[in-house]
């Protein structure tokens, strides 16, 4: 899968198709960062595959100069599982949306996570159905007014990261379209993780759900509301003014200026599933002083064997036990008789 010396530039990964997202759509930035970071990942383009479902976000593969399939709604994880199992040498990226991945495709998603093939799942979360022109999605907030919820949505939304953790995910991260550097860094880590990497990307749909993530993208506000996770580092945010500590199992927001120093704080450990769980539940919508900041970065990562490795081991084991299959032996079986 490593490049044979070929040095790529971002341009090498953009296809000849003109991009057809709305002007201003967050998808553009994600596309750009993907194309920008790819040269650093050392993937040989011939081994690169993007598999998507249906949705605005799922148009992504058409714009990548690589192998790709724009499959059907919600099924990308299943398509990708078959592809990766059939050819483990490929670098497989699944592109999905909050409707594609969490509504119709929810089951394939959670099963992909538990099986842990070495693929990357990028969930473009704009908290809306874009391509069908604006209905609420499984991640839309309660009370959201949309075409299909004129009096406000009454569906309690999923917490995409908590769901993934509950579904045995081995790599769970969050990033956002408007932070190119962070986005690229997370994509890089997702690629490096051996196993299914699940990355939720906050993506602005400026036509049907503009500003859904303003708290975490708006220059003025994001500092106070975004918590950037770094392995081994204490949890500080708001320009170092605020920090987080654990009082037993209870997370606590503390002011750094006075009584607390970094050494009192909760140190991020992406290998700790309980901490990851607590972080994933920093999820309140409307901010109050008590509101916990929204974590960005790698919440959790775990080393677990990949499905395709286990599959390969069984193939080898079968060869040991049964020897290379002989077609004629198979067809004739052990009990035959002859008629003259």
């Amino acid at each position: 899968m490593e490049t044979n010396g070929t040095a790529y530039t971002a341009k090498d990964f953009s296809s000849d198709q003109d991009v057809r997202w709305c002007p201003g759509c967050g998808d553009y930035s994600i596309l750009k960062q993907m194309q920008t970071v790819l040269p650093e990942l050392g993937i040989n383009r011939k081994d690169l595959v993007f598999i998507s479902g249906i949705g605005c976000s799922s148009r992504f593969p058409y714009y990548m100069n690589s192998y790709g399939m724009h499959s059907i709604h919600g099924r990308a994880p299943a398509v990708a599982s078959g592809l990766k199992a059939a050819n483990p040498d490929l670098s497989v990226w699944i592109i999905t949306g909050d409707g594609d991945g969490l509504s119709i495709g929810g089951n394939h998603l959670i099963h992909a996570l538990r099986r842990n093939l070495d693929v990357n799942i990028l969930l473009f979360n704009n908290e809306i159905y874009g391509l069908t022109k604006g209905q609420y999605s499984p991640t839309s907030e309660l009370g959201k007014y949309t075409k299909s919820s004129p009096l406000g949505s009454i569906d309690h939304p999923f917490n995409p990261l908590a769901l993934a953790l509950g579904a045995e995910a081995t790599f769970v991260a969050r990033t956002v379209d408007r932070d190119p550097i962070h986005l690229r860094e997370v994509l890089k880590r997702a690629h490096q993780h051996k196993g299914t990497s699940y990355v939720e990307i906050y993506q602005n749909c400026n036509v049907f759900n503009d500003g859904a993530f303003e708290l975490w993208t708006d220059k003025r506000q994001k500092g106070a509301h975004s918590l950037i996770l770094e392995q081994g580092k204490p949890l500080v945010y708001d320009g170092g003014k605020k920090g987080l500590r654990l009082d037993g199992i209870r997370p606590q927001i503390v002011d750094m200026d006075n009584d607390y120093s970094e050494s009192d704080l909760w140190v991020h450990d992406e290998k700790d599933s309980v901490k990851a769980h607590i972080l994933s539940r920093f999820f309140d919508k409307d901010p109050t002083p008590e509101t916990f900041p929204r974590p960005f970065g790698i919440l959790y990562s775990e080393d677990r064997f990949t499905y395709e490795t286990a599959m390969q081991n069984q193939m080898d084991k079968a060869l040991d036990l049964q020897g290379k299959g002989d077609l004629d032996d198979l067809i004739s079986g052990k009990n035959t008789w002859t008629v003259e």
């Binding site: 011939k46 192998y67 008629v339």
Partner: protein, 610 residues
């Protein structure tokens, strides 16, 4: 003293509780009989429940085998021998037993409790009621005798009684001069790890066998080996043959077989079979549902493997959308439907042919997919092989229809040498550049490029595509052209079919019996007998249902009437009426059971008559 008689054909029906090991006894008798060179056909028939309530009629599990020294094509309708392990088994099957037939009854299975469970009058033992003239009745207290035989073995009563089936089997072996060795070998390997159980089964089998001698005035029967076509034979079950056909085809095409399935009766055994043969480079994937199964297979095919998925009716209904995608992608894909009784969950363990129209039309938009059918247990091999050939050489999904009857049924098979199987050519892209994903050859087949090939990166998907480039296109004229091309490229496949050959009967005549799938055997016997009665009737059986063979029109026109027997409400009849104007008469049976040859013969008579 024991009399000896010869028979050219015998049908035996084993019946007992789901827990009685009837299926095992049946399959052992089948193997033994096959190895003795008889032709045969079997029909296992079990309840939907894993172990339906003990002693009830609902819980009766049956296995019928028809074997002989002559050609055998069906499991036979009315058995010559009925082995009834309990009252329920007796109640359910006695009316089918031929007058004068042999009835072997397990006394212990007719006590008050069993009579009650079978909802029969407890006060009278039905066996006492039988006129000795009607049947040759053998009342054997299998349970008691078997326990005696196992005396001293370190086993509880329950475990001991588990080998009753072997006792009964042994007795039948004796009655029909069967050889014990194959079963003894089978038992030794099956119970390798459980010496006591092994011992019990062996004793039971032998005891049953020798029990025969203790009865006086008993008749034993000889059934000579059949004069089958010279060659080497094996016994084969349908789903097994189907799995082998897939393996053989993938090997001949030089493709790795990727099989994704979600368990469903009666298709699950294909997954089980392939999972045991990973040493052929097969990858099996138990998916979370049927949609994941077919889409994973599509993904694998995109990656360069031979993607295969198998299911039954309800699962097919779920795969429709993904089938449409595979039509757009133009990648090889084999979709197997082992049909069962419908609609909905229907009759999961019964057989039916009612998914034909679904196979031909069950998708949104104009999405033509070739449909082919298997006609017998052993034919599942060749049908799977042909399905794969078409899928690979024409870069298309193919639907292969089997059904519960042939999937679980067995027959002797003069199996082929792998060297004699025709090669399968994969339309890989030969060039190094200027690859247009949807540029086509003279057969309108696009060429195949796999991820991992340098410089040929491309994208495909479910939106309409521009004629050659495969880029997304909403152009009206392009859409119409692509729809026509997709239709045309499938219809071209018919040009490769071998010329149609009637199975039997004159080139022209009054009646053509046209069949597809598992009705082959019953039709064959019926038409043979009709011909013997001097009727002007012929048999034609379709391997390819969509697209129809080019020469079908002519063949049909050679007969006044086309009689179409189907295990559905007339689905092939609809397709034939829609394409050809010939006089079609439908013979439909929708009972979850295969045709009896007599049912078809009767109908031929009527049609031929008028």
């Amino acid at each position: 003293m024991t009399r000896e008689e010869k028979r050219t054909k015998v049908a035996i029906h084993f019946a007992g509780d789901s827990g009685d090991g009837i299926q095992l006894a049946g399959s052992q008798f089948t193997l033994t009989t096959a190895l003795q060179g008889n032709d045969l056909s079997t029909f296992p028939d079990f309840p939907a429940e894993i172990r339906a309530p003990i002693g009830t009629v609902a819980g009766v599990s049956g296995f019928q085998i028809n074997f002989g020294s002559e050609e055998i094509n069906t499991p036979g309708s009315n058995p010559d021998v009925l082995v009834a392990m309990n009252a329920a088994a007796f109640k359910k099957n006695i009316r089918n037993l031929k007058k004068g037939g042999v009835l072997i009854a397990n006394e212990a299975g007719f006590d008050k409790r069993n009579l009650r469970l079978a909802h029969m009058d407890e006060s009278v033992n039905p066996l006492d009621e039988l006129h000795s003239s009607d049947y040759q009745l053998y009342r054997i207290d299998v349970t008691r005798l078997n326990r005696e035989a196992l005396d001293g073995l370190e086993l509880g009563m329950k475990e001991k009684d588990r080998s009753r089936n072997m006792f009964a089997l042994g007795f039948v072996y004796w009655l029909y001069h069967r050889n014990l060795d194959p079963t003894l070998q089978f038992l030794s390997s099956k119970f390798k790890s459980k010496p006591v159980v092994l011992e019990a089964n062996i004793r039971a089998l032998k005891k049953g066998y020798h029990y025969g001698e203790t009865i006086e005035a008993i008749t034993r029967y000889r059934v000579e080996g059949a004069k089958l076509q010279p060659g080497t034979y094996r016994n084969i079950v349908g789903n097994q043959a189907l799995g082998m056909g897939l393996i053989a085809a993938s090997q001949k095409a030089g493709l790795d077989l990727f099989y994704a399935g979600y368990p469903i009766t009666p298709a699950s055994d294909i997954l089980h079979f392939l999972a045991r043969h990973k040493n052929f480079g097969i990858k099996t994937f138990q998916a979370e549902d049927e949609i994941a199964a077919i889409t994973a297979s599509i993904g694998a095919s995109f990656g360069g493997a031979l993607g295969v998925t198998a299911t039954s009716g309800p699962g097919m209904a779920l795969k429709g959308e993904a089938m449409g995608l595979s039509v757009m992608l133009e990648l090889p894909l084999v979709i197997v439907n082992v049909q069962r009784g419908g609609p909905s969950t229907g009759l999961p363990t019964k057989t039916e042919q009612a998914d034909l129209l679904q196979a031909v039309y069950g998708r949104n938009g104009e999405a033509p997919i070739p449909v082919i059918a298997a006609q017998s247990a052993s034919d599942c091999f060749f049908a799977a092989y042909e399905a794969t050939r078409i899928a690979v050489e024409h870069m298309t999904p193919v639907i292969l229809l089997s059904d519960g009857y042939i999937a679980n049924g067995a027959e002797p098979w003069r199996f082929p040498k792998s060297a004699d199987l025709e090669k399968i050519h994969v339309p890989y892209f030969k060039g190094k550049e200027d690859y247009l994903p949807y540029r086509r050859n003279e057969k309108l087949v696009r060429s195949w490029v796999l991820p991992g090939q340098e410089g040929l990166e491309h994208r495909i998907g479910g939106l309409e595509k521009e004629k050659e480039s495969g880029n997304v296109s909403y152009d009206p004229d392009n859409h119409e052209e692509m729809v026509k091309i997709r239709a045309e490229r499938i219809s071209l496949i018919a040009n490769e079919y071998p010329a149609l050959k009637r199975v039997q009967g004159p080139e022209q005549g009054r009646v053509l019996v046209l069949g597809w799938g598992s009705t082959f055997g019953a039709i064959k016997v019926a038409v043979r007998n009709a011909l013997a009665e001097g009727m002007l009737v012929s048999q034609l059986h379709l391997r390819h249902i969509f697209p129809f063979p080019n020469d079908l029109k002519d063949v049909l026109s050679d007969y006044d009437t086309v009689l179409i027997p189907e295990l559905n409400n007339g689905q092939l009849s609809k397709l034939i009426r829609q394409e050809y104007d010939t006089r079609v008469i439908a013979l439909n049976k929708i009972k979850g059971l295969p045709f009896g040859a007599d049912e078809i013969l009767k109908k031929i008579g009527e049609v031929h008559g008028d």
